[in-house]
Structures are given as structure tokens and as C-alpha cells.
Symmetry: C2
Subunit: 672 residues, 2 copies
């Protein structure tokens, strides 16, 4: 029996051949990837349930739907799925189960209740006072549909400059919500355009002409029966985007729209009937929600990369093109070194990001408890780390997905591959939840404080202890790779330390030349971002390294070590500049790392399909003709295309309207 | 008066401020970019004509069209445009004029007659024998619509393995076209699916059981009156893609479909009525058509990059977010060093690619004449160079476009920016006309032959003369930049030479260890690709350098020198690894290059808008709300969104069907 548990008699022979070569148990690896055998099994149960219920399926490929059809299909599936939770045996409070169910049923383009679940309810739970608890019931039982409206057309990153106002009128004990400018229009919030009848709206609280800054208000947007917008509210869809097109991201503006005083969320700050304002009892820890979301982003990005790579690696195992040995027949494209070099280091990153995501989740769980006790230092630190991780992981994931797509050649370019839709969703992560350049600058702030502490001999957190660690130029990266790659980690540390300290010194030098701190910061921003990236890549390498060494199953650990070692070589070669600069590594050592990388590509090649199979994605979740588990790509490509919108009629209306008259006219002119 | 000729009283004040800072005449620069003042003026005349004819406009944004609507709109515009050529004063034989007209009217998503013009007619012109000239007339007068069908589902890159057969039947003097397998189906040809009634089909010629390899046949696919497929023909659309969705890329298969003997294109090879085969009189030069297409790809890619950068730079001049000096107000995001570093080096690449494209076009024009005289050496060399250029330019253009998009933050993610559509079209260039990895290997073959010649002391073409040029480690890149950047070019040469020779030596070493030539090549493929990339980047830098130094207008030359110097620094820093490896550059020299780069970002900043304005794109051609010439982004973003598909009704059908019942049910359950 094959160690690859997906091997099936229906497999395309080329795919079966791959699966028979597995050197590790793919079920064991799936348990490693998904964190436990229990959750791995749970995912499979849910997948099976969904498979059994056609009412949860797409009637035809989402690729052929108009935007309206997609939105309606998503609404149908989301409401059906919710109604069936009991029947499906899914507890709505089990976040991970609901997450997998949603991935299977909905896919990645969104649905009308997404923000209701992930933003509206959590905000109410966190910010409703005792007398406001009924909102939570209304929302939780879906008697209303809500979202969270913060970003405006003119301001996303700089929240201090949001323009929407909520002016208190003590006479009527109401807030008057108003959008004073075009740029003050709320713009982007998911499900705001057409689905929601309520929203938590972020607006500047104004009392007696004084601005108390952004506060949260619960606002009814649409009539519960007719769904028409309330008077004083302008609301609609902001139009199509790169992806998420089953989601109605919306705009919203207020024309002196009045809401009761008690619609301000008052758990922390309060406004009394007479307009007197009470500050939150203690400075609120603003990091926690952001940190939570970004923590989850890391594993989601890993999943996106693995989606694309599952498709690309499987397709590369059944696509044959060209010969290596003349006369020996066309080879699988996965046999080309260029294809291996395109895909396997990216696959290593997907694993690295998954392990890193898991690691930060557990840090988060721990420090969240500390925050409850008033200890916020580690949460702040986690915030900085995650800012860097968010930026680096989303950027590299985008690269991984596009490499995966292009490695599929022409067919990758078809929506049948579904890889570009994944790219559209994943690459959004570079922009939302904090634009990546801004995120790197956040981490850089932390690193500059650490560099300053390192210079002054102060104590440093373990995260940045490498800044003061004595480093020797090392000679451990040598020609015959043994299984000890700890010297590689030291090289990551060296590169990060050098760049952090160089950026710090440049900052000092710019201010010493008379620039203000802020100007110097801006003129040093690119170097600071480089420092933040190197620090983050070190962090990822460490987490990958540590995680692999805790894996118990010997077969899994062995192949994960290969992946880890590939990762370490590949990343260091990519950042070699920083290592060569001052002779930390010699040209010869780099050449050895390259040779080691090429050796590992060959070594990993036979396990490639099994390493993507281990992510355990169902064909439904993957939604890719090229990524089919059984490898029968070509007949299904043809089957898929037959459903194309343009094939619904043999002759398109444009033939009679435009092309035929053109040809007729031409025949007339030339007297044929 | 401003040197920026676009300055207008309608400009957003932030945009006007930028335009007033121009240090060069944008009309002069437009003439440099478009090759001559005459063509620059011609473009503007055409733009104006199109503006005056509403029947050539889109009724509403293409972003809101379904695929069917898009295809029909494109057919309407294409046929109208053709009918109006006289009235528009455009000569159909003036390729550049038609090209610009098409960019204005159609945009980048394609139209039903595109392949007819760029592939069908040229193929007939090149390959029809004297007795076949009537096909050219039919096609040229658009009495038939045709395309070119080569790629099959199972084979793109490896043309030798195409499976479609054309078997000669001497009894009836017909060829029998047949698709023996699923993978033999023609797949991908543009306009094959629904528009064309004819195609030039590539099939293996079989006579008396002997396969003579691929030949071209003209085949009627659909009835001229009813447009129904002919009996024995299966044809249709292959479904949506990343981009080009107004194009009906198609599939086609044959079930023993018979065509007359004279439907084989017989200018070169011939089949006589009795089935006797005549080889082409002289070995055909297969490079020329490929070279021609790839030559044009380079300038098109430059244009795509400049589309995206025009939008991004303009938007960055009106978007304000965050402060640099506290209390001094929000700054234009273009004032951030990170934003400048994201955009300006990419803008330099757009210029570099435009100049490179122009240079290879003129080489092509020259060597094409030589080919006519039987001199094919330089054409072969041009083929290799263009293989590398195609790969490097498409890859870097994709990077440029995505950086441009992300630099626009959230609004860049909306289809209102139109940048992602440009990305989809441009990035296709990495795959079509030869997959990039394969292209790099083509150039590597040439470089390995050159390396071998260099080793053996043979004479070398000027293209690779740097392989034997004596190089000294140079100290010209020093702290105070004068205006002589020739030392930078030497560094490009050094990097390319080192990697070419290293890859060559590794190839020898692999074969000396017992691998066959082909196996060694595959195990060395990644290093060979690195060599091909470095060679190509040197080539681009040289062309940019040479072109800038021929610009006559002093204002233009000065700012182009800044762009060139930015390019040289940026690219060398990006490839620093190869320069540091053996100490060719010191860490200090690299630091100086960085400082010089940062200096140039600041220096170029005031000209940034004028440098994109100089590409002279009309708002119609750009199709971007964010890239509007006048900078009035926000009100038009709102105006654009109001046309969104989902805003056609205030309440979507899915509310009554799904969301309302869900809320009702919930209210019932909880007895509210």
C-alpha cells in the first residue's frame, strides 16, 4: 500500500506513479499541517457532508457567472448553509469548523453575511454596554444583518483624519450623523452596499463643538421589511474589484441622519443624556483586534499559496512537454530543474508560513490572557512582529501564487486553473489590514528602539536578542551538507543584524545633518523597510526550523527537513547581498549553498505530489480543473469549457448584428 | 507658461502644482517616446477624431459588462471603426495609426477581428501560392473572417508533437483533417471560438502513411450565411481567462473533415494531385515571424507599464494621507520615499523598455533586408537576444504594474483603477509567444556557444564581446557622482560575464561527471537562466544608455539622464550579489550607489507627473478613474460606482429570495 493515502485506481497513471513514490504517510502530514489528527478528520467529515448535499453546490462553475449571478448564488449558499448547520453537524461556535465549511461551500469570493460574522458581531460583543446586549441577540440570531464601516473614500491608513461626524443633540438626545465632504463617504466596507440593514459606523464624536475623536455607533441603514435605504442614508455597491466579487463592498453617506443616544456603543466611553462625556476607564489596548486578524491572515495566506501550488504541482505531474533525453519520449514538466526551482521553494514557503502562523497563534493566545491582567508589553511586541509578518508573507505569497500559475503555461492563464482568482484574493492582503509599506515601518519603529537599546547596552527581548549576540564569521556552511543547518540560521541573524544596525546608524547620521526626526525617518524609509523584511524572514526561518524539529513522525520529519533545508538555502541565496557585503559568506560558501539547493530539488522531486496532497484539499475547495486530484485534466478542461457563457448559443447575437452585415457589405462592394 | 503642456485650468490644484514644476517640455518628451514629432501629432489627431464620434465609445465602463456584453460591444466598435476608417482619415496600411486607433476605441480586452488582421492575413500573404491569391482578397476585404490555429490542448511549446493530421486522399484530391485524441484539439487560438468562419490550421501532412510534419491548411469552419459549424467540425469558446475576455479564444476539432488539395498553402511546400510531395526550395528561415512579433512585444510591454505608472503617479500626486512634519498637514503620498522607490525605478524601466524596443525594431528592419539576400546570421542572433528580452521585459513589466497598483492602496484594488486589467494582459506575455523559462534557455544556448568561443579564443560578435573584454575591478563608482555613469555599465558587463562563464564551467563539470549533454543542461538550467537574465539586463542598460545620449532637446536629456542613472543604480543594487561575490564592488561602493539612488529619487520627484504625462495617454485610452488627467479622482470614483451592476436596482433579488426569509425565520424562532 502506498504511503500516499490519496492513491486511487481512478488516478491518471502519471499521477498514480507520483503517489506510489511517497516516502511519508500523507495522513500523518495532513495532521501536522492542520494541527491535529482530530481537526484533520473533522475537515474530512465536513467535506463529505457538503459533498452529499447538492443544495450546497454551485449549479455551474463560478467562472461563468455574471456578478449578479455570483452574488445571488453566494446568498443562496450562505443562507442554506446556515439553515443546515444542525443537519451538517457543525457547531456555529466552532470557528475552525465553520471556516472549513465556508471554504468548501462558498469558496473565496465572499458572501453577503461574511462581515456580519467576522466584524459586526465581534464588535458588538466587545463594545456593547449592559443595556445594549439586545443588539448582540438581534445580530447573533440574524434578525438583522450588519457590517462594520470605518474606511472612507479619502482615508484608510490615517484613521485620525476620518471625516464622518456624529454630533450630539442634547435636546432630542440623539446623535446626528453626517458626511460633510465627498471624501468622507464610507467606502470599501464589505457587505455594506446591498446586503446589510445595519452597520457599526466609526464617526468623530462631537459634543458642544468639541471633537472627541472616533467612536462607534450602531446605525440602521435599511428598512427591515422593504430593504429600502432609510431617509438620510445613501448606500450602494462600489463596483467590481480584482476579486471578492460576490461581496458587495459598499459606500455610505449620511445627510444629518439621527440615531438615539443609546446607539453609541458605550461599554468603554459614554455620553450622558446631558451631553457630558466619560472617557474609557483605562486606556484601551487597541492592538488586540488588529493582532487577532493579522494572526489569522498568516495561515490564510499559507493556505492560498498551497491552493495554487497543489494545482501547479499536480498539473506538472501530468503535463508532458518536450524531451530531456532525445528519443526517450516527452517528460513530465516537473522533471525540469526550472520547474522544480519555480515550485518547490514556494511550497517550502507555504509550509513555513503555516508553521509560523500556528506559532504566532499560540503566542497570541498566551499574551491575550496577560492583557486581561493588564500586562500589555508582549501584545505590543506581537503587534510589531505581526506587522512585519503580514507584509512579508502577503508579498511572498503573491509571488508564490503567480509562479505557480505561470508554471502551468497557457492553461494556467485560463480561469479553469482558478489560480488567478486565488491570487486576486491573496494579494488583497498586501493592501487591506494595513498597507504593507506602512506595516514594515511599524516593525521598523520597534527595531530602531531595539537598536538604540542594543547600542546603550540595555536588556533586549528575546525577539531581538540577536542584535547583541556575538557572531563570528562562520565556516559551517560547507561543501558536504550534514544534517545540521543551524549555521544557516546564524546567517539569517547576521543579515538582519547588519541591516538593522546600518539603518539605525543612517538614521542618526541624517538627523546629525540637521533633519528633523520625521524627515530623517522618511529619507531612511527604504533602508528601514529592508531591515524589517530581514528581521521577519529570520523570524519565519526560526519558526519553520523549530516547528520541524518537534514533528514526531519520522517519515514526515525527514521530508520536512528537506523542505526546511531547501527553504534556508533558497532564502539565503535570495538575500545573499547582505551576507557577501562584508564577507560574512564567501563566494565559495554561496556556491555550496546553491549546490545543496539543487541537490534538495532532486531529492524532493519524488515527494512533490505527496507534499501538496497532504494539504488535503478537496476538488470542491480547490475549484481547479488543472488541480484535480485524479489528474484527468484534459477531458475535464473540455467539459468545463463547454459551459462557457459564449457557448450557450452556437451563434452569438453579434454575428447577425455586426459581423454578417460587415461581410455582406464587403461582398457587395467588390461585386462578388 | 508651464513646460508641462497638459496643465489646464480644470486641473485639481494638487495636479496643477505638479505640472508647474516640470523642468522639461512634455511635448518634446512625447516626441522622444513616440519616436517622432510627426507620429506624436498623428496620435493626437486620431485621439481627437475618436473623441468626436460617440459611436466609437463604450456606452458604459467595460468593468460593468458581462462577458457577452463585452464581446458584443467589441464587435460593434470594431466593425464601426473599420467602416469609418476613411472618415477618420486612417489608412489601414499605416500599422502604427491603426494600432493607436485600436487602443483608443477597443482598449486591451480584444475584439473579434484581431487575429484576422494580425495573423490570418499575414500568414496568407506569406504562404499563398500564385493560384491561391484569391484567399488574400477574400480575407483582406473581410468577405471572410479568419484566424490562425496552431496550439493544441496537449502541446504548445513542443510543436513537433502536434497531433492534428491532414491525410492526403489522392482519389478525391482532398486532405482529410482529423483530431485523433482529446489533446489534439486546437485550443487557445484567438477569435477561433465564435467569430471566425475560416482558419489557417497547422496539421501534420500525411501522404501514403508517411508524416511530413506540420504544414498549413486553410479551412472553412462555419457556413458563411448561417455561421453554423460545418459538418465534421466542433468549435467553441474555451471559457474566460485572466484578461482578453472580449476575445473568443477557441477550441476546434475535426472528424475526418475533407478540404480540397488546393487548400494547403503551397507557396513553399507542395503536394501534387497524385500525392507526390515537393519540399520547400530552400530551408525556410523560421525565425523571422517570431522575431517580428517579439520585437513589437517589447514596446507593448513598455506601454503597459507606462499605462499603470501614469495612473499610479498621478493618483499619488492627489492622494494625501498622513503627515511627515507633525502639524503641517497631510502630504501627497508621492512625498514618501517608499512611494518614490516603488514607482520611479519602475518608470525608468518603462522608458528603458521603450528605448530598447525601438532599438531592436531598427536592428530587425536592417537584418530583415539581409535575410532577403540570404544572410541569416544576424537574424538568428536577434532571435536569441529577443528571446531573452521577451522573458526579462515581460517579467519586470508585471512587477512594475503590480507595484503601481499596490501603490494606489485600496482604490488600486478596485476595477476603477483599471490597473489589474492591464496586468492581466501584460502578464500573459510571460506565457504566450514562448514560455519565459524556455525563452531564457534559448538565449542561454547562444551564450554557451559564445562562452565556448571565448574560451577557445575565437572571434565574438559585438553582442558578447564583453566576455573577452579585459575588466579591471573599477573604482569609478564613488561617493560624489559626476555625470559619467559609464563605470556602471562596466559593472553590468562584469556581472553578466561572471555568470555566463560560471554557468559554462558548471556545464562542463556536470558532463565531465558522466552526465549526457542534455542531462547536464537540465541540471544546470537555473544557472543558465541566471546568465541569460544578466546578459539581457546588460543589453537593456546599454540601449537605454545609448538612446538617452542621442536625445537632442537639452531639457529632456537632462531628466532622462536622471532616469537612466536611477535605473543603473537600482538594477545594479538588485543584482549586487553578482558584484559582491568576488569583490568586484565593495560594500562601500554599494552604499554610495544607494545614496546616489536616494538622491535621484528626490531629484526626480518634481518631474514625476510630467514624466508620465509625456506618454500622452488620453483618458479614454487609460480607462482609469484614478489616472484621470485632471486629478479629480474622488467625485469620479463615486460617479463610476453608481453604474455598478449591483446598483441597477436598489434591492437585489437575493434579498427577497434569501436574506429576508432568513431574518423572518429567525424572528419567528425567537418569538420576536
Amino acid at each position: 500500500m502506498s504511503l500516499n493515502r490519496l492513491l486511487s485506481e481512478n488516478d491518471h497513471p502519471d499521477m498514480a506513479e507520483e503517489r506510489r513514490k511517497a516516502t511519508f504517510d500523507t495522513d500523518e502530514m495532513a495532521a501536522v499541517i492542520w494541527g491535529s489528527k482530530k481537526y484533520m478528520m473533522r475537515r474530512r467529515e465536513i467535506t463529505k457532508k457538503v459533498e452529499e448535499h447538492p443544495e450546497l453546490h454551485d449549479p455551474y462553475s463560478q467562472a461563468f457567472m455574471t456578478r449578479e449571478e455570483g452574488v445571488e448564488n453566494a446568498a443562496r449558499k450562505a443562507t442554506t448553509m446556515i439553515r443546515m448547520l444542525d443537519e451538517l453537524g457543525v457547531d456555529p461556535l466552532q470557528f475552525e469548523d465553520v471556516f472549513h465549511l465556508t471554504n468548501e461551500v462558498i469558496g473565496i469570493a465572499g458572501h453577503p453575511l461574511a462581515l456580519h460574522a467576522v466584524m459586526f458581531i465581534p464588535t458588538l460583543q466587545a463594545q456593547c454596554s449592559d443595556e445594549q446586549q439586545h443588539w448582540i441577540d438581534l445580530a447573533y440570531n440574524r434578525r438583522i444583518i450588519g457590517t462594520y464601516a470605518q474606511t472612507e473614500m479619502g482615508h484608510g491608513t490615517n484613521l485620525k483624519k476620518l471625516e464622518t461626524t456624529a454630533t450630539y443633540d442634547p435636546k432630542t438626545q440623539e446623535f446626528v450623523l453626517h458626511s460633510p465632504t465627498r471624501t468622507s463617504m464610507k467606502w470599501w466596507p464589505g457587505n455594506l452596499g446591498k446586503s446589510s440593514n445595519h452597520a457599526v459606523v466609526v464617526a468623530n464624536l462631537v459634543i458642544n463643538g468639541e471633537n472627541y475623536g472616533p467612536h462607534n455607533f450602531i446605525v440602521q441603514l435599511r428598512d427591515l421589511e422593504t430593504h429600502q435605504p432609510m431617509k438620510g442614508i445613501t448606500v450602494g455597491d462600489i463596483g467590481p474589484k480584482l476579486a471578492y466579487n460576490d461581496t458587495d463592498n459598499g459606500f455610505l453617506s449620511f445627510d444629518h441622519y439621527r440615531i438615539p443616544r443609546l446607539n453609541m456603543l458605550m461599554k468603554h466611553a459614554r455620553v450622558a443624556p446631558d451631553g457630558s462625556y466619560t472617557r474609557p476607564p483605562h486606556a484601551k489596548v487597541g492592538y488586540s483586534a488588529m493582532v487577532y486578524v493579522r494572526t489569522h491572515m498568516i495561515t490564510h495566506q499559507a493556505m492560498f499559496a498551497a491552493y495554487a501550488l497543489t494545482t501547479a504541482v499536480r498539473y506538472s505531474a501530468v503535463r508532458r512537454q518536450g524531451e530531456i533525453k532525445p528519443g526517450c519520449g516527452e517528460v513530465k514538466i516537473l522533471d525540469y530543474q526550472t520547474q522544480q526551482h519555480r515550485l518547490l521553494p514556494q511550497l517550502a514557503r507555504a509550509y513555513a508560513f503555516m508553521f509560523t502562523g500556528r506559532a504566532v497563534k499560540s503566542v497570541h493566545a498566551r499574551v491575550d490572557k496577560d492583557v486581561a491582567k493588564g500586562k500589555v508589553d508582549e501584545m505590543a511586541e506581537l503587534h510589531y512582529i505581526l506587522s512585519g509578518l503580514k507584509a512579508v508573507v502577503t508579498h511572498l505569497t503573491g509571488e508564490a501564487i503567480e509562479q505557480a500559475r505561470m508554471s502551468c503555461g497557457g492553461h494556467g492563464y485560463s480561469k479553469a486553473s482558478n489560480i488567478f482568482e486565488i491570487y486576486g484574493v491573496a494579494i488583497g492582503g498586501c493592501t487591506y489590514e494595513g498597507e504593507n509599506m506602512v506595516m514594515l515601518q511599524q516593525l521598523a519603529k520597534y527595531l530602531m528602539r531595539a537598536a538604540n537599546a542594543a547600542q546603550s547596552g540595555e536588556g533586549l527581548s528575546s525577539l531581538v536578542h540577536y542584535l547583541v549576540k556575538p557572531h563570528e564569521k562562520h565556516s559551517l556552511i560547507d561543501k558536504e551538507p550534514n544534517n545540521d543547518y543551524s549555521a544557516h540560521l546564524l546567517a539569517f541573524e547576521w543579515a538582519a543584524r547588519r541591516q538593522v544596525m546600518k539603518a539605525y546608524e543612517r538614521l542618526l547620521s541624517l538627523t546629525s545633518r540637521g533633519l528633523s526626526g520625521e524627515e530623517a525617518w522618511n529619507e531612511n524609509a527604504v533602508e528601514l523597510n529592508r531591515a524589517a523584511r530581514l528581521h521577519t524572514r529570520l523570524y519565519i526561518a526560526q519558526k519553520f526550523y523549530d516547528s520541524v524539529h518537534t514533528v514526531v513522525d519520522a517519515g514526515c520529519r525527514a521530508v520536512l527537513e528537506d523542505l526546511l533545508h531547501l527553504h534556508l538555502n533558497y532564502e539565503l541565496i535570495d538575500m545573499a547581498y547582505y551576507l557577501l557585503e562584508d564577507g560574512y559568506l564567501s563566494s565559495q560558501q554561496l556556491d555550496h549553498m546553491k549546490e545543496d539547493m539543487y541537490r534538495l530539488l532532486v531529492k524532493l522531486r519524488p515527494n512533490a505530489v505527496s507534499l501538496v496532497d497532504s494539504w488535503d484539499y478537496s476538488d470542491r475547495e480547490l475549484r481547479s480543473v488543472l488541480g484535480r486530484k485524479d489528474g484527468h485534466v484534459y477531458e475535464h478542461l473540455y467539459k468545463w469549457a463547454q459551459d462557457s457563457q459564449l457557448n450557450r448559443t452556437q451563434v452569438l447575437p453579434s454575428f447577425e448584428k455586426y459581423l454578417k452585415p460587415m461581410m455582406k457589405e464587403a461582398r457587395g462592394q467588390s461585386k462578388l
